[in-house]
Symmetry: C2
Subunit: 285 residues, 2 copies
């Protein structure tokens, strides 16, 4: 029986443990920094073992999954490297990959095989209480092997995510960061900016929101500490995507102004283009 070590008992770590029990027969050992979290894991029966002892959790694990904030990874990885099996495969769930891979790959170079990954699943709810076995079902997981990554380790990480229900894609760490700046970080900052914009313009207007506003801003409910770290870790790509978004809003404004001059076609085309691409997403899911 394979053993899997989950490092960190949050939404993703907890969901991996629940999914592993439902979809596979791995033995799951979970590390938490705090004794209270260990007690909660045991109380809820999540995972086969839970401990604050990193060595006990990582010992004999075939796969180690880091499910902690990006900023906490190097320190925990340095604690892990001496205690994992020499052939263990290590991956993570960080939302930014160039920084994470650059920091973790050297730590595991002498022992184990590191391959980064980013499951594009989540929720505006954070923490173990929101964890669920089907969090990953149908979602995309981007595996981001660096240039010298071990081929077998890549395959094992990909197989792991597939078992949990993900569709696996491969990108370089750098291409990953450009992509998620557009499809994940930009929506987050747009949602946050939209809430703050409406609130600043007219706080009373928030009394009148319908389902459209709720959907468009849902991700703004995500944890600020985590998102501050994510956005900061991917700063150049995020700034570039925000600049492109502003340019698109300006383009729209020009088209709307042009409507008063009788050109009703261009704005319709802008909206039709958006709908066509959006419908394609619906069809693909």
């Amino acid at each position: 029986m394979n053993k899997q070590a989950v490092i960190g008992p949050g939404l993703l770590g907890g969901s991996i443990a629940l999914a592993a029990r439902r979809y596979a027969s791995w033995r799951v050992s979970i590390w938490a920094r705090r004794e209270e979290a260990v007690a909660e894991l045991r109380h809820r029966g999540i995972g086969d073992e839970a401990s604050t002892d990193l060595a006990a959790v990582a010992e004999d694990a075939d796969l180690v999954v880091l499910c902690i904030p990006i900023g906490a990874m190097p320190e925990v990885a340095a604690g892990l490297a001496p205690v994992i099996s020499p052939g263990a495969v290590v991956t993570d769930v960080g939302s930014v990959k160039a920084r994470v891979v650059a920091e973790l790959e050297p730590i595991f170079r002498a022992r184990g095989h590191f391959v980064g990954s980013h499951p594009m699943a989540g929720s505006d709810q954070a923490g173990l209480s929101a964890a669920k076995a089907d969090l990953f079902g149908g979602s995309v997981c981007i595996v981001t092997p660096h240039e010298e990554a071990n081929g077998e380790a890549i395959a094992r990480v990909a197989a792991f995510w597939r078992t949990l229900g993900c569709r696996v894609r491969e990108l370089t760490p750098e291409a990953h960061d450009e992509t998620v700046a557009l499809v994940s970080h930009l929506p987050h900052l747009v949602a946050a900016a939209l809430v703050n914009c409406v609130q600043a313009q007219d706080p009373g207007a928030l009394e009148f929101v319908g389902p459209g506003f709720r959907d468009t801003t849902r991700v703004a409910g995500g944890p600020p500490d985590m998102w501050t770290e994510i956005l900061n870790s991917n700063r150049p790509a995020v700034l570039k995507s925000a600049e492109a978004m502003i340019a698109k809003l300006r383009e729209f404004m020009t088209l709307l102004e042009r409507q008063s001059a009788g050109d009703t076609l261009s704005m319709n085309e802008f909206l039709t283009h958006a709908r066509t691409e959006r419908e394609r997403l619906r069809a693909s899911h």
Copy 2:
């Protein structure tokens, strides 16, 4: 027994007819421009009667609800005015109110009582096929009496929407338009701009979208013709809200750039503020 005339068999008109049957005992008569739509209404058993004859549908109705595109309202209203009961109350479901009220109020000044309204319910799906009795349940309906609106007519329109499950609020037509520019029109153009932005920056990135991008852009799937008309009818307020949104995105970019100089607090505050306001919406619903 009260008779209600629904003018237009789309998502909103169809849903009103279905809701009226479930939640009230009104007789519902539906007007459609096309015989095919009348046939579909009869086939699906929506409403008590359906016809392309405006006079037959409106005759004896206590309440007439215009559920047609804003641009089509004046012509249909001109046809309605001579055939409605002298004391009939007329309302509409248009997403923009200053223009609609200015156009329709004079038409019904001699006969009937016009009071505008805007149920903040809908879907990215348009048309009768998406109609459902519970479309309005729990949503806000803004009733927008003009200065000389008849008090009893306002009360009847409000009671009508309450019966369908709406929470009713009152705003002047102008205040309504400012408010929906922020909470409805801005989210729509932001969603459309976000889809077009990502597609223009990297079409392949759309392969990697997760639930966050899907939620943030859902409303971009709405019908372009309808939205072109809505946004154009509320042009000044929409342009103002888009300008405010761009300013918020710039504010965010400044905060993100400042992070590199070691100020990690300001961006966290921006995101925390957005989350606090967003959580309040969740609590209120």
